[in-house]
Assembly symmetry: C2
Homo-oligomer: 401 residues x 2
């Protein structure tokens, strides 16, 4: 009998899909990308793509007819539409649509975490017909005077998150926030505002064979709620090994409960009291795991494919110290990417550029990874990575439009 | 002033071009590939390619009109044709056509090495109108009773190399070898047959700024004159540090003398007397440097682009032990690649599959890289890499055609 050769599809064509496609190429896996535009980051490095929007049933059907395994770059696909479009076809989604469904909604995420006994911030949901003003008042009372409103779905990079207090200005913002959620037909909820020491994250992978590996716990720093800097291993940077154990246990329990296939990420708060609280879960490769491309024997992208296709998972052993700096569009600059030279790498800094069609302020345009053999050199390394970004943005600013 | 964004072309579309293209993508460099077929390894991972043969002047002109920097995956291009096709165009070749010209011919290579005082095997060239029989007799006399006939150009993977002795069978082979060279219009010469302990190799990179880096000296083992296994660092495997110094000095002197730009490789013999003799030089990224993808902070492919585009060269520090095993087409199997699943990676073994259109015996189809933190684990690692190959070839044999 001849073995079936898999034809694999990626839902999405942004930078995560691009890096997934590159890892697939190395393994000899042919990929088809489903994306909106032919110049999207992943479409530039693959010869097969099907163009369509997330809600374009006909394009999705065409895509699903051309592949037998589908992976996700984003959790924002409509799982009911996908199930329907895949009806009667021999297509496997990895992770399963059920796992995506449970994780794409922060409220079902929290229910799952509660069931598994994994700590997360206390939350509150609006009562039927409760006004946003009343809900905010109740939330501030119940959650200790400081609360965060969140959309249950479609939030990312600070979108769908609003810190509220009792002031008039804050109430105005809350009304706008609630009506935007309403327009998108997304429920909202309130969460206790966590007084955290730092944010931590872990990326892990579970295979169709049930094999599980977890990458080291890392420290992640945000700028305007967008991931900016990831450093690690956290345990070499003052975070207790006990917290890493807790993070790995949470990842293992979660993956097992969902019969999860592939790579996923959990973001945590480390509280002043030294506790670990889950902030959120992403059922896909994740920005907090980009460092794995240069710092670990096997990247999160390669392990995603290994997991999905039933191959043994790869060694994840990291270097002694590592850092990843996101390259965000500089303030005040908007220009076609084709008119701009990408950043120059440095001796220890490795540029990963996404080839987005436009340079736009605060947009994720690429990242830089670096490693050291001693944690004591990490500050110097981070300075070197920041210098790559500074030199590039100076260069772009200096060029006439 | 707006900076010129480079449009970069690769002459060739095989596995070296594919891995160069992937490294370019990460750096945000757009590449156009010049190759024979749309399903060649590099064309599968790029959206822009121009199809043509090495001697197709019109296609070459079209290619050269679309790029401003050109790199090579092979040294077998006709430099006069390229110079002519590039005439009047603002195209930079990296390395220069002059460097390619000097290195693509093994006789001019030897002259250069002699000038630089770098040791190489003694050689002899045929006299005008000397018959191949007379030449072989003279070579066996002059070179100590054992000689190797070589084509001065177009040799690779054992092609263009013939070991001769005084027997009738050997003289028959020598006549066929000489007439094949004659048909290709390639001069031949004879070289002393070296009684070597092992073969060593080094990959190095020199940038347009004159910056130079050398990767560690490695041990390379051939099977049927095709590179099969590379292990290193050689100095951790019983090769003296003095030989590594000599290899690095030779690479530096050679690159300086040619005002060389980019990555190149030197293959050496380590003689029984402990001397280092240059076997040959390749003016391009090289099979003996594929291990750098997983074992070094910066791969030979990325450093090639950094060098060519005037960026700082990347850190080349290797892991404590590493190995690269070439995946060659199994004997007796010929099949379309599309009908065959690629090899599965292992925990420590990273598969790099080239996506060649056909599986053919002894063809280079991919390679597997692995690293260890202790040289003592290297034998186990090599066994793990060999097991990947064995499991794959068993699987392919077991499938019906």
């Amino acid at each position: 009998m001849r073995a079936m050769k898999h034809t694999v599809g990626i839902l999405g064509g942004g930078q995560l899909a691009r890096m997934l496609a590159e890892a697939a190429h190395r393994l000899g896996i042919s990929v088809t990308v489903f994306t909106a535009r032919a110049d999207d980051p992943a479409a530039q490095v693959t010869t097969r793509h099907i163009l369509g929007s997330m809600s374009d049933r006909q394009a999705l059907q065409q895509f699903l007819a051309s592949v037998d395994v589908v992976v996700f770059e984003s959790e924002f696909f409509d799982t009911a539409l996908l199930a329907d479009a895949a009806h009667d076809r021999n297509v496997r989604f990895a992770p399963s649509l059920d796992a995506i469904r449970q994780l794409q909604d922060k409220l079902t995420q929290k229910e799952l975490l509660d069931r598994l006994g994994i700590a997360t911030a206390t939350h509150l949901i609006p009562r039927k017909d409760e006004s946003i003003d009343d809900f905010v008042s109740r939330a501030l009372d119940a959650l200790g005077g400081a609360a965060v409103l969140k959309w249950a779905r479609l939030g990312y990079d600070g979108k769908g998150v609003l810190i509220v207090d009792g002031s008039d200005a804050s109430r105005m913002e809350a009304r706008a926030f609630a009506s935007a959620a309403n327009e998108k037909n997304v429920p909202l909820f309130a969460e206790r505002r966590i007084d955290f020491v730092r944010e931590l994250a872990v990326v892990a992978t579970r295979s169709t064979r049930g094999e599980f590996i977890a990458y080291p716990l890392v420290i992640s720093e945000q700028q305007r709620s967008i991931c900016k800097l990831v450093t690690g291993p956290a345990t070499a940077l003052g975070v207790s090994a006990e917290l890493e154990h807790q993070a790995h246990d949470a990842a293992r329990a979660l993956a097992g409960a969902l019969d999860y296939t592939g790579t996923f990420a959990i973001e945590f708060f480390e509280t002043r009291e030294g506790a670990l609280l889950v902030n959120e879960i992403a059922p896909r490769v994740h920005n907090s795991g980009h460092y794995t491309q240069d710092a670990c024997a096997t990247s999160q992208f390669e392990n995603h494919w290994r997991a999905v296709l039933g191959m043994p998972l790869g060694n994840v052993q990291p270097r002694h110290g590592f850092a990843m700096l996101n390259l965000l569009g500089p303030e005040g600059i908007e220009r076609a990417n084709d008119d701009v030279q990408p950043p120059f790498p440095s001796k220890r800094g490795h540029v990963h550029w996404y080839g987005k069609s436009r340079i736009v302020p605060w947009r994720k345009l690429g990242h830089v990874n670096g490693c050291t053999d001693a944690v004591s050199q990490l500050d110097g390394l981070v300075a070197e990575l920041r210098e790559i970004e500074r030199a590039w943005s100076d260069r772009v600013r200096g060029e006439r439009e």
